[in-house]
C-alpha cells in the first residue's frame, strides 16, 4: 500500500465469493482485484449474474467475501464484527437503490435524516442536516411529503440526499435509474455527476451503456471477473453549466408531475 502516495479508498485483493454447497457451489466473484481512488466515478457494467451486485454488497459491507482482502480507507474490514460493520456503514457508506427504498412510514425529511439516527445524533440536529441536504437537491418544498406522494425521479433524488447526508467516503448506487424513464434517468445522472464533482467517490452498477458517459472509469465484468477496466476522459455532460442542469430538471418535473400515477404504474 505504501507504494502509492495517496491511499486508495478501496482496495480489493483476489476477492472471492461463492454461493451454495458441494456440487451446487457456484462462484460469483472469482478473484477480483480492484483499486479505487478517492474521487472516482465508476460504472460497473456486465450481464446479469456476473457478480456486479454481489460486489457492490461486499463493498457496502452488507455481505462478506469468502476469500481475499478488502481494505476500506486502508483498513481491513474482513474480520470485523457485525456491529463494527454497521458502524462503518453508518459513517462511510451511502447507498442508492434501484427501487429507491425509502421507508414508506416516514416522510421525506425523516427518511433523509434516518442514517444520522444511527450515528446517535440528536433529532433537531438530524433534521437540520437533512433539511440542508434536501436544499442542495432542490427538494426543500417536499420535506414533509410522504414517499408515495413523489414522482420516481424525486424519490430517487431523496434517496441520493439520504445516501449523502452522513458524508460517506463512498456512494454505492445499484442501478439508480433502473426504475426511471429516460428523462428522469438523466436528471438523476446529472445529480450523481454533480455530487461526483463535489469530490465524492461513486460506484454505480448499471445495465445502460448510455450512462457510462457520466463515469470517469468503466469496469466490465463477466462471470465474476473483471473483463475490462477503462478510464474515460471526463464526459462532456459533466462540464455542462450548472444553470442548464437546473432548467432541465425543472422541465422534467413539470412534465412528470401531472401523470405521476400512470408513470408509477409503468415503472413498477
Amino acid at each position: 500500500m505504501a507504494t502509492t502516495p495517496t491511499t486508495p479508498v478501496i482496495a480489493l485483493k483476489s476477492l472471492t465469493k461463492r454461493y451454495g454447497i458441494g456440487d451446487a457451489q457456484h462462484t460469483v466473484l472469482d478473484g477480483v482485484d480492484l483499486t479505487i481512488d478517492r474521487g472516482e466515478f465508476i460504472a460497473i457494467m456486465g450481464p446479469s449474474g456476473c457478480g456486479k451486485t454481489t460486489l457492490l454488497n461486499i463493498l457496502g459491507l452488507l455481505d462478506r467475501a469468502d476469500d481475499g482482502d478488502y481494505f476500506l480507507d486502508d483498513k481491513s474490514v474482513d474480520t470485523l464484527s457485525s456491529a463494527r460493520r454497521a458502524h462503518i456503514r453508518s459513517n462511510q457508506v451511502g447507498f442508492v437503490f434501484q427501487n429507491f427504498n425509502l421507508v414508506p412510514r416516514l416522510n421525506v425529511i425523516e427518511n433523509v435524516a434516518l442514517p444520522l439516527t444511527y450515528k446517535g445524533m440528536h433529532k433537531t440536529k438530524r433534521l437540520k442536516l437533512a433539511s440542508k441536504m434536501l436544499g442542495i437537491f432542490h427538494l426543500s418544498e417536499r420535506e414533509y411529503y410522504m414517499p408515495w406522494q413523489l414522482s420516481g425521479g424525486q424519490t430517487q433524488r431523496v434517496a441520493i440526499a439520504r445516501a449523502l447526508v452522513n458524508d460517506p467516503s463512498i456512494v454505492l448506487a445499484d442501478e439508480p435509474t433502473g426504475n426511471l424513464d429516460s428523462r428522469s434517468s438523466h436528471v438523476i445522472m446529472e445529480e450523481l455527476a454533480d455530487i461526483h464533482r463535489r469530490g465524492n467517490t461513486i460506484i454505480m452498477v448499471t445495465h445502460n451503456p448510455d450512462l457510462t458517459t457520466y463515469a470517469s472509469r468503466v469496469i466490465r465484468m463477466i462471470d465474476g471477473r473483471i473483463d475490462s477496466d477503462t478510464k474515460t476522459p471526463r464526459a462532456k455532460k459533466v462540464t455542462a453549466p450548472k444553470r442548464r442542469l437546473d432548467e432541465t430538471r425543472k422541465k422534467v418535473e413539470k412534465k412528470s408531475r401531472k401523470p405521476t400515477k400512470s408513470k408509477k404504474g409503468k415503472s413498477a
Binding site: 452488507l62 458502524h87 453508518s90 427501487n99 427504498n101 421507508v103 444511527y118 446517535g120 452522513n166
Partner: protein, 411 residues
C-alpha cells in the same frame, strides 16, 4: 453505541399508531390479564388487611388455636377430601380450653363451636344464619358490643341466646328482639341480647356475627352428642409481650393433651389473617391461574403481532441495516415496541382492575380493595416481563435478517 431510546420510542409509537386496531386488540390481551391480577391482589389484600386491623385493634395480644396442622390448610386438594371442613371433625376439646386457661398471663380464653342446622321462628328460617356455641368469656377476647340486652353469662339460663342484628331483622323484622324466641334442633331459645351491627363478615373467627345466634357451650354440646367440637379457641393475653410465651406454652400443653399428635395449630400475629377457609385458597388459586392463562394468551398475542410486524417490515429492516443500523439497534426498535404495548396494557389493566375491584367490593363485599405499592410494582413488573419475554424472539428474529435478502423483498 448509543441506544437511541427516545428515537426508538418515537418510532415505536409511530408504527403502533399506524395500526391502531391491531395495537388496541393486542394491548387488550395484556390488559385483561393484568386486570385480573389486580382484582385478585387488591381484594385478597383487602380481606387480609381487615383481619390484621382487627388484631391490631385488640392490641395484638390475641392468639388462636385451630384444629389441623398449619401446612395442611394451604393445600388445595383438601377441599375435595371428605375430612376437610374443620367444623366436621375437630381435634380440640374442652380439656384443651381448661389447659390454656391455666397458663400464666392468659386473660381470657373462649372456645368457639360452630353448629350446623336451621334457626327458625314463625316459619321463617333465614339463609346464612349460623349457630355458635361459646362461653361467656368470648366478648373479652373478641369485641362484641351489644345494642340491646346482655351477653350470655354463667348465671343465665341454658336455653337463652344472643343474636346478631341482621339475624334479628331476618327473624323478627326488628332489632328489638329481647324476649323473643326461636327454634333450632328441636329446642326453643329465648333471645336475651342483640349484638351491634359489626358489618365485617371476614374476621379471624370466621363467623359473621351479624348473622349468628350465640348460645352457651353446654347447649351446643347437647346438639352434638355431648361432645364439644371446638372450631377455634381464642386466647387473650394480659399484654402483648406475654403472647409469645403463652403461644409456646399452649403449644406444649396441647401437645401433651393430644399425646404428642400435632393435630392443632397455635396462631398469633399476622398468621391470624391466614384464612382457615380452604375455599379461599381454592378461589384465589383458580383466579390466579385464570389470570396467568389470560396473561399468557396476551403475551402470545404480542408475539404474534410482533412477528407479523417483523415480516411486514422486512424491507424496512433491510433499509435500516444498509443505512447503518446494527443488530442491537434493530433488536431495540422491536423490543421497545412490544414493551410499549405490554406496559400500556399493564397500565390500563391496573386501572381497569381497580375499577372492577371497587365495583365488586361495593356490590358483593363489605371491605375495600387494598391499595399498595406492592400491587403497583407487581403489575408493572409482570407486564414488563411479558413484553420482554414475548417481544424478545420477534426482535431477535428481526435483527438476524440478512439485509441483502431483506432488501430484495417486495411487498
Amino acid at each position: 453505541m448509543p441506544l437511541l431510546v427516545s428515537n426508538h420510542l418515537a418510532n415505536a409509537f409511530e408504527s403502533l399508531r399506524g395500526n391502531r386496531l391491531r395495537t388496541g386488540l393486542t394491548v387488550l390481551g395484556v390488559t385483561i390479564g393484568i386486570a385480573s391480577i389486580t382484582v385478585i391482589l387488591s381484594l385478597s389484600g383487602g380481606a387480609t388487611k381487615i383481619i390484621t386491623d382487627q388484631v391490631d385493634e385488640l392490641g395484638g395480644a390475641i392468639a388462636v388455636v385451630r384444629p389441623g396442622s398449619a401446612d395442611r390448610e394451604t393445600r388445595i386438594n383438601n377441599l375435595t377430601s371428605t375430612l376437610a371442613g374443620s367444623q366436621v371433625t375437630s381435634s380440640l376439646t374442652e380439656d384443651d380450653v381448661h389447659s390454656i386457661e391455666q397458663i400464666d398471663g392468659v386473660k381470657a380464653v373462649a372456645p368457639v363451636m360452630l353448629i350446623g342446622g336451621n334457626i327458625s321462628s314463625d316459619g321463617k328460617s333465614p339463609d346464612g344464619a349460623s349457630l355458635v356455641a361459646t362461653t361467656p368469656s368470648l366478648p373479652e377476647v373478641t369485641s362484641l358490643p351489644m345494642s340491646d340486652g346482655q351477653f350470655i353469662d354463667s348465671v343465665t339460663n341454658r336455653d337463652t341466646a344472643v343474636i346478631g342484628t341482621q339475624l334479628s331483622i331476618d327473624l323478627y323484622g326488628t332489632e328489638q328482639a329481647a324476649g323473643r324466641t326461636f327454634r333450632t334442633h328441636g329446642m326453643s331459645f329465648t333471645v336475651i341480647g342483640v349484638l351491634k351491627r359489626l358489618n365485617n363478615p371476614i374476621n379471624y373467627n370466621n363467623i359473621d356475627f351479624d348473622h349468628a345466634a350465640i348460645i352457651s357451650l353446654d347447649s351446643g354440646k347437647s346438639f352434638n352428642q355431648g361432645v364439644a367440637a371446638i372450631q377455634q379457641i381464642n386466647i387473650k393475653a394480659e399484654s402483648t409481650d406475654k403472647l409469645a410465651a403463652i403461644t409456646k406454652e399452649a403449644d406444649k400443653r396441647l401437645a401433651a393433651n393430644h399425646h404428642g399428635e400435632k393435630d392443632f395449630t397455635v396462631l398469633s400475629g399476622n398468621d391470624l389473617s391466614r384464612p382457615s377457609n380452604e375455599l379461599f385458597y381454592t378461589v384465589a388459586a383458580t383466579l390466579t391461574t385464570v389470570a396467568a392463562i389470560s396473561l399468557l394468551v396476551g403475551g402470545i398475542g404480542i408475539m404474534n403481532i410482533m412477528l407479523v410486524g417483523v415480516t411486514e417490515r422486512t424491507r424496512e429492516i433491510g433499509i435500516r441495516k444498509a443505512l447503518g443500523a446494527s443488530n442491537a439497534h434493530i433488536t431495540w426498535q422491536f423490543l421497545i415496541e412490544s414493551l410499549a404495548m405490554s406496559i400500556a396494557g399493564g397500565l390500563l389493566g391496573y386501572l381497569l382492575g381497580y375499577f372492577f375491584a371497587f365495583v365488586i367490593s361495593r356490590i358483593f363485599l363489605t371491605f375495600d380493595p387494598l391499595f399498595n405499592w406492592t400491587i403497583v410494582g407487581t403489575t408493572f413488573g409482570v407486564s414488563l416481563f411479558v413484553g420482554l419475554i414475548f417481544g424478545l424472539y420477534p426482535a431477535i428474529r428481526a435483527a438476524r435478517k440478512d439485509p441483502i435478502e431483506a432488501l430484495r423483498q417486495y411487498h
